[in-house]
Symmetry: C3
Subunit: 265 residues, 3 copies
């Protein structure tokens, strides 16, 4: 996929403005909603069991993010996930902190088995944890490079029939026999909370607009890399980075994609 | 109401620094608190049933915002709303996403009947949904213009004896036989999450300081329009807009009101 | 403690990157996580009882912040606090709004008695409320100066064997017979939500890195003062202040400490 293809997908999100339903963590709700709005999508954050079916029914994609998990939210995720599966609304799973606790790892495995997400996006530690590797995480931050998790990602993709994104200094998108690498972004991104969660939400918006999990995963990650690279050019630190990142999502043009991401099949 | 009158109300909020109690959604808690602080008010976010009576008793206004609704929070809203009604603390209701699910629409109607809010502020889709119109919403974003919801707003105002604000490209404030239109703000505002929720909170601060629902609703919306216009002059996108918006609330002077809002009775 | 000592502690946090587990309020989760990341620490926000033991076991410090309290969260705080006490993980308590409701005051006293925090950081009103003073608070904002709460802070420190920080225009850190005053920061800080909560989290990161409660409390507060002073030089209001504050935490050098904080034993 080249810059022109990615650009067409950026335009598609802006034009279709897909509704993305997020059951996500408290830490990133605001920044996730703002990233989706800046990219042209329409976010809704909701978790009440009573409204899951109605909201999933009008959504173009569903994000399940376990960052600040608790039993009632797990129930809502399972309920929303089942509604999404029944209606063929694509689900994108973010296994935040998988490996840091049994609750997190097991909840992800339950969601993988019952909801069958279209895409799973995590850092290397999280992807390794979902494949049974132990001691690979430090809280919610990765202590492994994406290349360490390639085998685990392939295994995960094959076991559950999903596209897997391993994000890090280099991002890897794989599934259905294809593997693509992306380079871009900025060293400031691990110093901003919720950048991974933002990536997951942008992947969901792109999956909804493209109607294809692999294309959506790749374009969502490409947009992260481009906006990150654009923001880094103007940022003095993690605070100003966040401001410029949202402005970049909003203002992104074809030339920025040429300048700020390298995609290797 | 002219710019000088609005300015006196801006000064009144800064001097009285009313305590505004918010039972609001997870997405906007931080940005709402910051907007209230920048405008000179004093926010508290709290939802535990055990402390509702004590906190309402010391508050100048109560915001009920259903953005990330669930059963326990509905109970807290009803409890706090009843305490407020008993103590004549004005309540401002934000029906976020009314129409997108039965839970949201019905919760709003229950709150309208039992709490009798002083002001309801919503977008056109939400106000239409509260009057029984179907299919008028897309998640939490409006697909209608305020002018489409004028009749519904009047009906709502008469049924429940409240001031109604329909916000959008043009804002309408109506109640007690009066209708006022405001123009200002910026096209970037729908690209920032929680701008409507911020408007609701600023309305609450102004109702508390002015001691009058219509004046408070109008001044709160005027302040949104002015700060939005000021921010747009400096913003490169939705990220920098948010930064300049808070700075504008803090720095706003009489001349800015002259420059950035048009009020038509 | 002089600027060079504070600087060594700033470097220690960046190098050790301690994992700080936060059970904190919804309003500040995002900004707290970002402040910890900007300062070089690694935050995790989690509250599910099922994972408290595992997460406390890998953490360098635990923050308990009662800002948006409810019964289930109190249970998680007690559980996590007991795990921390058993494993000698230092706990930092933020009594947000103590005095504004019986629930808040009593929860703090229960946490003080059962968890034995290493540090308590509050504003003057909150510290007074923990010692039984009534009518000293306005919601979550202080109406007293730190000097009014000195006696209460000493009493608290002696009763529970903890370091106490009273923050305000001047900060006071006391415990074990020592009292230190800090001056710095900016008048904009009370106009930004969660600055006190951020201070508490930075104290926790420094306690984890220094392995000593008094040193950690003092350095955490010094870093707040320095970053606040640096941010104020560039800020036009509370919005831009927040951006520059995070950039300052990230970029802080020894000279900034010399320039922006005065420490008096």
């Amino acid at each position: 996929m080249d810059a022109n293809n990615i650009w067409l997908n950026v335009v598609a999100v802006r034009q279709a403005s897909p509704l993305v339903h997020n059951i996500t963590n408290y830490v990133v709700m605001n920044t996730t909603a703002n990233a989706l709005l800046s990219a042209g999508a329409s976010p809704i954050m909701a978790h009440a069991p009573e409204e899951m079916e109605e909201l999933v029914a009008i959504s173009g994609a569903l994000v399940l993010n376990i960052g600040t998990l608790s039993r009632p939210w797990i129930e809502s995720m399972l309920l929303a996930g089942r509604c999404a599966a029944a209606r063929k609304v694509p689900v994108v799973l973010d296994p935040v902190g998988a490996g840091a606790s049994a609750l997190r790892t097991e909840t992800c495995l339950t969601l993988l088995r019952t909801v069958r997400p279209a895409v799973v996006r995590g850092n290397a530690s999280e992807i390794l944890a979902l494949c049974g590797a132990e001691g690979a995480t430090k809280g919610v931050d990765s202590i492994k490079a994406p290349s360490d998790a390639l085998e685990a990602a392939m295994q995960l993709s094959e076991s559950f029939g999903c596209v897997v994104v391993v994000s890090g200094e280099e991002d890897v998108v794989l599934g259905g026999g294809r593997t693509v690498r992306l380079r871009g972004g900025s060293a400031l991104m691990p110093r901003v909370t919720g950048m991974g969660c933002t990536a997951t939400a942008l992947v969901a918006a792109h999956v909804a607009a493209a109607g294809d999990a692999f294309t959506g995963a790749l374009c969502g990650m490409a947009v992260m890399a481009v906006a990150g690279g654009m923001a880094a050019e103007q940022a003095a630190g993690p605070g100003s980075f966040q401001v410029h990142f949202l402005d970049a999502l909003y203002a992104m043009q074809l030339q920025n994609i040429h300048d700020h991401v390298v995609v290797e099949a």
